[in-house]
Every structure is written in structure tokens, then in C-alpha cells.
């Protein structure tokens, strides 16, 4: 019996509250991150990812307190991202109880940061987040919540980040994020097939069928979703059952 594919609920956190935007705007409040994490843990989530979407200097202390509170109650892997720019940021999050950190724009500004972080803390805790948008016949990396193009090809970037020591790729389609029409499966498959490290598909989940597609057609090792779980449309358990009925190996 093989390794299970993972379902990872994602909490976008702003000033200590879970929020969910559509295309990174129109934010809706979805509760207390500690409560939400505990609920997902009980429902059988395989991991939890929490992204500090404002990542301001003042917000950092609040985030560390939130991570500490979650880590004391939730005994599955916890990834924290948003504003991770230095090895001190990584150390602070790991010390608070995070198991992995997600590095996004800091990797683009300084790819050697990924190498340094991986050597110091181990590849197992370094997730590189890639926000990609389709441009003509390929996908490019965008920063600043999808507003600024970088000209970097997403597939090439994923390969480079693997070579620099990333342990995992969190791949978000900025075209699909929040619009509930399903993952960008071509993007997901292009990246998943190009690297040998696990790829988490993100952006666009509107129903349970989309999760299964991410694995079966996108070749993702894990699927990440936020709003379908936050607002009680589906539970993690329902999502796992649905995926299992399609022949996907799940932890149930």
C-alpha cells in the first residue's frame, strides 16, 4: 500500500484572523486560526499551512503567538509562510513550533537564501512557494500578490529551486486563486513532472472533484484548499472519501 496523497487546508491569516480573499482582494473573515486548525486536525487534515498575508513587522509577533498556540494542540505538520526573508525568520517560526516554512518572494530576490536555509535547517522544512500566471503559452512567476511580473518561467524556476535545496514546491495559479473553477492542471502537471520533489497544487478549488483532478491529472502529491473548507461547504473527511472513491490513496 503506497504513500497517501495529502490534503492540506490553508489558512490565510491577517492580524491574527483567518481570512479568504478572491484573487487576493475582497477579504472575508473565517475565524480564529487556532480554532480552525483544531477543527481541521480533528477532521483528518494531513497537514496545515498558514500564510501571513499581510506580513507586516507588527503582525509578526501576533503570528508567532498563533503558531505557538496551534503547535501546542495540533500534532500534524504545520507550514508557515508569508514574509519569511531571513534565516532568523525561519528560526523564529521553527522555535514557535512550525515544522516547515514557505519562502516566496525572498527566493526570487535572492535564490541563495534557499540554499542557505536548506543547508542550515534541512531541505525537509524548506517549501518554496511559486505564484504563477499564464503568459502566452507558458507560465511566469508573479510577486506582490500577483501584480508584478518577474519574467521568470515557472517550470524552470521550480527546477532551479529543487537544485537549490527546496524540499517541496507549493504551486499556486494566480489565474485561478479564489475563483473556484479548479486547479490550472496543465501548470500543475508541467511543474510536477519537471521536478523530483513533492508538489502541492493550489489555487482554484471549488469542489471535491477539483481536488481529485489535481492528483489524477495534475500529478500533484498534495492538494491545498482554503475556502471550500473554511465556510463549511465540505469537511476534510468528505474530501478524502471522495478522492478515495476515485482510486487515490488517502489516509482515512
Amino acid at each position: 500500500m503506497p504513500l497517501a496523497k495529502r490534503i492540506i487546508p490553508c489558512l490565510d491569516v491577517d492580524q491574527g484572523r483567518v481570512v479568504k480573499g478572491v484573487n487576493f482582494v475582497n477579504i472575508r473573515d473565517a475565524g480564529d486560526p487556532v480554532e480552525v486548525s483544531r477543527r481541521y486536525n480533528e477532521q483528518g487534515a494531513d497537514e496545515i499551512t498558514m500564510l501571513d498575508i499581510t506580513a507586516t513587522h507588527e503582525g509578526r509577533g501576533t503570528m508567532i503567538e498563533t503558531v505557538k498556540a496551534i503547535a501546542g494542540q495540533v500534532f500534524i505538520p504545520l507550514t508557515v509562510g508569508g514574509g519569511i526573508r531571513t534565516t532568523a525568520d525561519i528560526r523564529d517560526m521553527l522555535n514557535a513550533g512550525a515544522d516547515k516554512v514557505s519562502i516566496n518572494s525572498a527566493a526570487i530576490f535572492n535564490p541563495d537564501f534557499v540554499r542557505e536555509a536548506s543547508e542550515r535547517f534541512g531541505a525537509q522544512c524548506i517549501v518554496v512557494a511559486i505564484d504563477a500566471k499564464q503568459v502566452d503559452d507558458h507560465w511566469e512567476i508573479f510577486t506582490h500578490g500577483g501584480r508584478k511580473p518577474t519574467g521568470i518561467d515557472a517550470v524552470e524556476w521550480a527546477k532551479k529551486m529543487e537544485a537549490y535545496g527546496a524540499g517541496e514546491i507549493l504551486l499556486t495559479s494566480m489565474d485561478r486563486d479564489g475563483v473556484k473553477t479548479g486547479f490550472d492542471l496543465e501548470l500543475t502537471r508541467a511543474v510536477a513532472d519537471a521536478v523530483t520533489i513533492p508538489v502541492i497544487a493550489s489555487g482554484g478549488v471549488g469542489n471535491l472533484e477539483h481536488l481529485a483532478e489535481g492528483v489524477l491529472q495534475g500529478h500533484a502529491d498534495a492538494v491545498l484548499a482554503a475556502s471550500i473548507f473554511h465556510f463549511g461547504e465540505y469537511s476534510i473527511g468528505e474530501a478524502k472519501q471522495q478522492m478515495a472513491t476515485q482510486g487515490i490513496e488517502m489516509r482515512i
Partner: protein, 215 residues
């Protein structure tokens, strides 16, 4: 009832907070201390040897900080010792990682790299690291498996694995079959992370705190 002491050996390798928090959660009767103090480790009733990252760095710190001697004293005293992840690999004979590293030789197996050309049941390449929840098939009746269903899934994240030999307490298949857990006298060690493995993992940690080190 007196408070018992469980020390998590802090030799500078990685994140010990997760495991300390999980132990506090399952064993309120224990004082959990993350420490590099040889005296505190000597005073402890139970000892946990963690480890993450590259084996070269782990073994260097194990030697620099006298952890090899500490472990040998703990084992001679008959105290229960739990090794986790690279903490388990450090107890093996040696590792192929970083061009070949000698380890502590408590177990006679070699730590090897997952092959890069493995494919899964659908013909797709298998990813390395082996990251996520996989089945552990218990191969012995051991106090640390108490109340854990055989075949339960635990959370793994590793690129190197220990060969499954006679000391194996649990086996997992990811390409090759490897040692997910090993045992010998008062040592039990796991490749997976019990502190991240939800109900089954917390049960294993609870079992460890209840174990007196005998078989």
C-alpha cells in the same frame, strides 16, 4: 506521585519544540526538558534523541558535544531511549549520505539513499524526499506498539532510509522496503515523526513514557 524527567537531547540540530509539545500533551506526569546538560540527561528517567538535516552535521555535533558518550551512558543505565528520524539514523552503522559517514553502530544496518528512478503504481516517478503518511507494518510485539493498529500510517519526511534487518520493529515500503522503526534492549527508534503523526504518533509517545526499557 513524583514528577518524572524526560530529557530531549539538544545538540543544535533542528526543531525540538514540536516533539517537546507533543510529549507535554501526552504525559502530564513528566517534566519535559529540552537540554544539552549532561547532568540533566543523567538524571532523566527517559531520554529522546532527535535529529533533522544532514547526517554529516548531526554526527559532527553528536561528537563535538559529547552526545555519543551521553547515549552510551543512557543505554548502560537501562533507561528507555527513543531516537527519531535522523536520531534513528545516527544509531545505525553508517550512512551513504554526504559521501559516507560513520554513525554510532548500535544497529548493524546501513543508511542508504532512495533510488531516483522509482516509479509508482501508475508509472509516475516517485518523489524524493519520501514525504507524507505511509503504512508501518509492525514486525514485533513491542511495548511501543501497544494500542496502535498494525499498518497505521505515520508521517515521514526523509531522503535516506535504514535497511530492514533483524532489528526491525516496523517496516514500510517506498520503492525498497526499509526500517520504519528499530529496537534493541532499551532503545526504540523511528524513521517517522511520532510527534507529527496525530493519534497513532501520540499513542507511541505515550507508550514510550510508560515503558520501563525492558522487553
Amino acid at each position: 506521585m513524583s514528577i518524572k524527567l524526560l530529557t530531549v537531547i539538544d545538540y543544535g540540530m533542528g526543531n525540538l519544540h514540536s516533539v517537546a509539545k507533543a510529549l507535554e500533551h501526552v504525559a502530564p506526569e513528566f517534566q519535559i526538558e529540552v537540554t544539552d546538560s549532561r547532568q540533566r540527561i543523567a538524571e532523566a528517567d527517559h531520554v529522546l534523541l532527535p535529529g533533522v538535516g544532514a547526517i554529516r552535521d548531526c554526527m559532527a555535533e553528536i561528537h563535538n558535544q559529547g552526545v555519543a558518550d551521553v547515549v552510551s551512558e543512557v543505554l548502560a543505565d537501562g533507561k528507555p531511549l527513543l531516537g527519531v528520524c535522523v536520531g534513528m539514523q545516527a544509531l545505525m552503522k553508517g550512512s551513504d549520505e554526504n559521501g559516507g559517514i560513520d554513525c554510532l553502530r548500535y544497529f548493524d544496518g546501513q543508511v542508504r539513499q532512495f533510488p531516483r528512478n522509482l516509479t509508482d503504481e501508475n508509472g509516475l516517478p516517485m518523489k524524493v524526499p519520501h514525504m507524507g503518511w505511509n503504512h508501518v507494518h509492525q514486525t514485533v510485539d513491542h511495548p511501543l506498539w501497544h494500542n496502535i493498529e498494525n499498518g497505521s500510517r505515520f508521517y515521514f519526511v526523509h531522503s535516506y532510509y535504514a535497511e530492514a534487518l533483524e532489528y526491525t520493529a516496523g517496516r514500510t515500503v517506498y520503492g525498497p522496503e526499509f526500517a520504519a522503526a528499530v529496537f534493541q534492549k532499551n532503545i526504540f527508534a523511528t524513521q517517522f515523526h511520532p510527534e507529527k503523526s496525530h493519534i497513532a504518533g501520540l499513542q507511541l509517545l505515550k507508550n514510550f513514557t510508560l515503558w520501563d526499557g525492558s522487553l
